[in-house]
């Protein structure tokens, strides 16, 4: 993938002004969403999500650990994201930068705030031993909208996950049982370009964005928001954006349930 030229950016911009897009989608259409599960055999749950050319793998692993002092009777959720160098010529090796950190934390908040996971049930011994739910997001191919792809992959990987038994002080990975997920948080990023809103931005469309808001909905509640990039939104624009995202997340949730 070459770097994006100004001419490409301009043509994407001209299209959107006319209510069209470079790949002939409607403004609020997603690219084809493909979700595959069981893609990582050693993970207790995994999912691969493809949005057009964007490809993300999410794996869930369970482990035993000491709880945080302020929540001694709750399991722990950890979400990590890596923008590895294979996914884009512009990604470099090394510790997670600002973009990877934001990605992981927005996905984390969607899951955490929706109370999707039964964290209290993941306590084995109060103050001593609790389950750690470790969600790792791996970006394989970056063509825009990592946020929505990753959130969808994380939700699907958790739904698919089976939790190992814990017996005689050991995690028995060969014996597993179903892992209950109470709610399904799904993220939708609404992107403002001029006076138009578009969904599921490609890499080029992300570059020309005047601002974007990632909105995470459960079945019935708004559980996380993150305005990203430069630019600003009026209150009325924001209220419209929450509604647009709500409709779209209802559709996306059906794909993974």
């Amino acid at each position: 993938m070459m770097d994006i030229t100004e001419i490409e950016e301009q043509s994407a911009l001209d299209k959107i002004k006319k209510g069209e897009r470079l790949d002939d989608r409607g403004l609020e259409d997603f690219r084809d969403v493909e979700v595959e599960t069981g893609v990582a055999k050693k993970a207790e749950g995994s999912a691969e999500v493809r949005l057009g050319d964007t490809k993300v793998i999410v794996g869930v692993k369970f482990g035993m650990g000491e709880p945080f002092p302020d929540t001694p009777d709750e399991g722990m959720l950890m979400v990590n994201a890596e923008l590895g160098p294979m996914a884009s010529p512009n990604f470099e090796s090394g510790p997670p930068g600002k973009d990877a950190t934001e990605l992981a934390r927005v996905v984390d908040r969607g899951i955490r705030e929706s109370e999707a996971l039964p964290l209290k049930e993941l306590c084995v011994e109060e103050g001593e031993k609790v389950w750690k739910v470790m969600v790792d997001i791996h970006i394989l191919d970056y063509d825009g909208n990592l946020m929505d792809a990753s959130a969808l992959g994380a939700a699907k990987a958790l739904i698919e996950a089976e939790i190992p038994e814990y017996e005689d002080g050991e995690v028995k990975r060969e014996k597993t049982k179903e892992f209950p997920v109470n709610k399904v948080p799904v993220a939708c990023t609404v992107v403002k370009v001029g006076d138009k809103y578009i969904l599921d931005p490609s890499l080029i469309e992300e570059k020309i964005a005047d601002g974007m808001v990632t909105v995470t909905w459960t079945e019935d509640e708004l559980c996380s928001l993150q305005k990203r990039g430069n630019g600003g939104f009026t209150k009325d624009e924001l209220l419209d954006i929450f509604e647009i995202a709500r409709k779209k997340t209802d559709g996306l949730r059906k794909i993974i349930e």
């Binding site: 600002k98 993150q226 430069n230 209150k235």
Partner: protein, 234 residues
């Protein structure tokens, strides 16, 4: 969500504020000598200092943009700003806040006037009692103006939230811990454009409308305080 203590009684909060009241504010411009611009902001017990350097040459050079400058933010909690000493160095949370702060401030600065340059905004939280990113941004915006950086308007920030099912403005520490929703925003109070928006907690569109309204009114009051501080430097 711990419910051991009532956070609201007859429409009054634990510190006696009404639901739409901000904490007491204090603002000052030009608090540091070496920086090109600096600012101090306090909201209740939360206080932050910010310094601005630049526009100056951006290193490494490959990060330079030929058409415009960039604005970089560092947000940091001082190790002594919280109950248990925080390990020095940037946490994941601090990295993320640095990034959203860049988004919040970049949109108000005329960056096209400074091709290849950077404007660096360093924000240090001295005491944390909730609302640290907002207080840090308020100090940062004062520092940008104090440095003479051309801007479309000043960025002002505050948070709304929900405690005991009631939307309220500007949560303090105990309210934040026992609260259901935290909604920090930053905006250009002159244009009504919200340039930072984060939210976590469970809510719906009607409540969001109410909370946004509270936060927008709050930002307008913050903007007034920031302007007063800047006027005093002349």
């Amino acid at each position: 969500m711990k419910k051991d203590k009532k956070l609201l009684k007859n429409g009054k909060r634990i510190d006696g504020r009404g639901i739409g009241d901000l904490r007491e504010m204090e603002a000052e411009a030009g608090v540091l000598e070496r920086a090109d611009g600096s600012g101090y902001f306090r909201m209740g017990d939360t206080e932050a200092i910010a310094a601005v350097f630049g526009p100056r040459e951006l290193h490494p050079k490959h990060k330079q943009k030929p058409q415009r400058g960039i604005l970089q933010c560092r947000y940091n909690l001082a190790p002594f700003s919280v109950e248990d000493r925080k390990r020095p160095g940037p946490s994941r949370r601090a990295k993320e806040i640095g990034k959203v702060a860049e988004g919040a401030l970049s949109s108000t600065v005329f960056l096209e006037e400074f091709p290849t340059a950077t404007i660096d905004v360093y924000m240090e939280v001295i005491t944390a009692d909730a609302g640290t990113r907002c207080v840090a941004l308020n100090a940062g915006a004062i520092a940008l103006a104090d440095a003479g950086i051309p801007m479309k308007g000043i960025i002002s920030a505050c948070a709304a939230g929900k405690i005991e099912d009631t939307p309220v403005l500007d949560l303090k520490g105990e309210e934040d811990q026992g609260g259901q929703v935290d909604l920090p925003i930053a905006m250009n109070a002159d244009t009504g454009e919200v340039t930072l928006l984060q939210m976590d907690g469970m809510t719906n569109i009607e409540e969001m409308d109410e909370m946004l309204e509270l936060a927008i009114k709050g930002c307008e009051k913050v903007a007034k305080k920031q302007r007063e501080a800047l006027m005093k430097t002349f």
